[in-house]
Amino acid sequence: MNETFVTMGLGDIIEDTRDFLSEEFEVDRDLILPENSLKETLDLDSLDYVDLVVLIEENLNIKVTGEDFKEIETFGDFYALIQKKLSL
């Protein structure tokens, strides 16, 4: 398990994730909901996904790949990936 997040639960991590995503992509935090589309809500193009990879690495200290994103439609899917990567 990632040591940084040993003491944090998934709920805390999700809230932190909503913070840095809304700030970086200039999106209303209230729109970052599990059922909403990650791509459409954050208005991501292919270059933006690279920024997302960097943000995830810097904020959560986990690495994600292009393959990981193939499974992600919603923020809920995204949180599930984080959970899996952090072995929570």
């Binding site: 292919s46 270059l47 996904y49 690279v50 990879v53 960097v54 690495e57 790949t65 292009g66 994103f69």
Partner: protein, 138 residues
């Protein structure tokens, strides 16, 4: 030096007068280094200085040469790449004509065919410009 000025066009698609790299000095998975002598007749020289756009292009061509060299070593044809975005750009100073600049590029992330690299140019140890570039490889 791993690719000399005379052979650099075998590894990158750029051609004169838009050739902004001389020698590739180092290329491995973590770091590329090059040098470039700024001639008076360079198309990106204005008022005796090599422009910011030239420094950015020099970083991009260093990246192209580095990846081209690595592809060549793996038996693959060098790929064509395009600058997708330039971010976190800081300009410290511009080099004078007839000076030699050294450039360091570090690939930091890859997502499919998009590479994020950090680059910087130096002249006599002084930093000229640094930025991040997203390069889309075909």
């Amino acid at each position: 030096m791993i690719i000399t000025k005379e052979n650099i066009t075998n590894f990158i698609p750029h051609r004169a007068p838009f050739l902004m790299i001389d020698n590739l000095i180092l290329a491995n998975g973590e770091r590329f280094e090059s040098d470039f002598f700024i001639e008076e007749n360079n198309v990106l020289v204005r008022s005796g200085y090599f422009e910011e756009s030239g420094l950015i292009e020099n970083i991009a061509q260093t990246c192209a040469a580095g990846f081209g060299y690595l592809d060549h070593g793996n038996g693959a044809e060098p790929k064509i790449g395009f600058i997708g975005a330039v971010t976190k750009l800081e300009v410290f100073e511009l080099p004078l004509v007839l000076s030699k600049i050294e450039t360091v590029v570090t690939p930091t992330h890859q997502l499919g065919n998009i590479f994020l690299v950090k680059g910087g140019n130096y002249c006599n140890g002084r930093k000229l410009l640094e930025c991040e570039i997203k390069i889309v490889v075909t």
